[in-house]
């Protein structure tokens, strides 16, 4: 019984495509972690400005929100690679290897489909904001295409990692659901 922490990192083997995707996802993970650290730093700076200097804090709240959103979306492929997205693997565990293999194909294909939809409409939404020159309705007035960019980027990279996972299962580089054979 796995689900969260007992399954290992996705295997890439010697397949160059899988290795390239793994590398991209890892870089995305670094970016995600860096954005979380930046959010910590900016929040502390905001508290300092307000509490110690009694100054105005106009842009910090918004910047931190967008950083955490971007960290989440851009971090998706890396967490997928680490198999960090929780699932209920009661059924896959109880299935014989062949059925488990086909179930993995189905769930991965469905995941690819939904992430593809999110990527398509996420890109469209980003493009809409870019096209119309939308800004946030604050004094800072961020051009909204900048934070919205994390939608197509995050889902695009997640799509790539999911395709790699599917390829890995089909080519038997990785086991279905990352589960050890029973």
């Amino acid at each position: 019984m796995a689900g969260h922490s007992s399954a290992a990192v996705a295997h890439a083997g010697n397949n160059p495509f899988l290795r390239a995707v793994a590398a991209i996802s890892t870089v995305a993970g670094w970016c995600s972690a860096a954005m979380i650290v930046a959010a910590v730093a900016i929040t502390c700076q905001m508290i300092f400005v307000r509490f110690v200097l009694n100054g105005s804090t106009v842009w910090q709240t918004e910047a931190v929100i967008y950083l955490v959103i971007a960290a989440t979306l851009v971090g998706l492929p890396y967490v997928q690679r680490l198999r960090g997205h929780v699932n209920v693997d009661l059924v896959p565990l109880s299935l014989p290897p062949r059925a488990r293999f086909f179930l993995a194909l189905i769930t991965l294909s469905l995941s690819i489909l939904i992430v593809g939809i999110m990527l398509f409409y996420g890109f469209e939404y980003w493009h809409f904001a870019w096209d119309r020159g939308w800004r946030s309705d604050t004094v800072w007035g961020v051009r909204l295409w900048i934070p919205y960019l994390s939608l197509p980027v995050g889902f695009g990279l997640l799509l790539l990692q999911l395709i790699a996972d599917l390829v890995a299962v089909i080519t038997r580089v990785d086991r279905p659901f990352g589960l050890e054979d029973a």
């Binding site: 009694n54 106009v58 709240t61 918004e62 800004r135 309705d137």
Partner: protein, 305 residues
């Protein structure tokens, strides 16, 4: 036909009742039209209603128009300090060429107004009364709206941005010492438990926010004549109700604060003029810089007597 209306307020709020009047009138007219109301942001978050409205994914909303100021900078004029003097002035503004110009901009986003309406608000101070610009100097202040942040910063206040739902706790722990928002928010968040003094909107008030009932224009155009007529009849009735209730709310909020032992302060003519002079150098100036055709729009608004 079924129309979906979304708004952010509870079912006891005046803005829900405005939506309800329109929905009930339309239902009573029996023209095969039903308005389904999604209150309390049960469908969309408050600031995220304009985009689906303009793209036809939502049919109607009761919406503070300045929330969409990032998409149409002209809308920022609908929450500008000192632009509206009182509720009757607001009603005249709704009929003016200025509002015609704003509605023209809305039409470009496929949006139209069914019910006009303004609501007012005031200031609270944790330790002292806020009536004049010099009172906010050095205070940690939460302001409702970009133009107010600019004006208050110009008066020497420190601006802290946070959701209105966080005002209560921030006041309690002392993170905030002053705040400005609508009369109804002050009451619904029970801010009277945390402050010493309240300056409600009365003879002179700075904070007026335009919060109309909007509809997607294509959705409206797709209705038949009987349906349009029923909708307009309901809207007219709702608009009259909205104006009456808006006037009552300011006094009612002052009563509630007074009942809870909060001091009630009044802004004088001189103080109002001082704020407005300050706004001209801060928020008005920034608005003109950031909005194409901003000066012309502002002049149109200011010319309404």
């Amino acid at each position: 036909t079924e129309l979906r209306l979304s708004h952010q307020w509870s079912t006891s709020d005046v803005r829900h009742k405005v939506a309800e009047i329109v929905a009930n009138e339309v239902a009573a007219a029996d023209v095969d039209l039903e308005i389904k109301i999604f209150p309390s942001k049960s469908l969309f978050k408050p600031r995220e209603q304009y985009k689906p409205l303009s793209r036809g994914q939502l049919d109607m909303t009761v919406f503070p128009l300045s929330y969409a100021g990032g998409q149409q900078p002209a809308y920022n004029l609908t929450l500008m300090p000192g632009l509206v003097k009182n509720h009757d002035h607001a009603a005249r503004l709704n009929e003016s060429p200025f509002m015609g110009k704003i509605e023209e901009i809305m039409a470009g986003d496929d949006v139209m107004v069914l019910v006009h309406g303004y609501l007012a608000g005031g200031f609270v101070g944790k330790d002292k009364c806020i009536t004049a610009p010099e009172h906010v100097k050095g205070q940690q202040t939460r302001a409702a709206g970009k133009a107010f942040e600019q004006m208050l910063a110009g008066a020497g206040a420190s601006i802290a941005s946070m959701a209105s739902s966080e005002i209560y706790n921030a006041m309690q722990t002392g993170v905030l010492t002053a705040a400005n928002t609508s009369s109804s928010s002050f009451v619904s968040y029970r801010i009277y438990e945390q402050v010493k003094c309240y300056t409600p909107a009365s003879d002179f008030a700075l904070w007026f926010m335009y919060q109309p009932l909007l509809m997607n224009k294509s959705a409206y155009d797709g209705l038949n004549d009987a349906q349009k007529a029923a909708l307009q009849a309901g809207a007219a009735k709702a608009e009259a109700f909205y104006l009456e209730e808006a006037k009552k709310q300011d006094a009612a909020s002052a009563d509630i604060f007074a009942e809870n032992g909060v001091e009630i302060a009044q802004m004088s003519q001189e103080e109002f003029d001082a704020w407005r002079a300050l706004a001209q150098e801060t928020s008005y100036k920034a608005f003109i810089e950031q909005t194409p055709g901003g000066q012309e729009l502002l002049d149109m608004a200011l010319s309404v007597q």
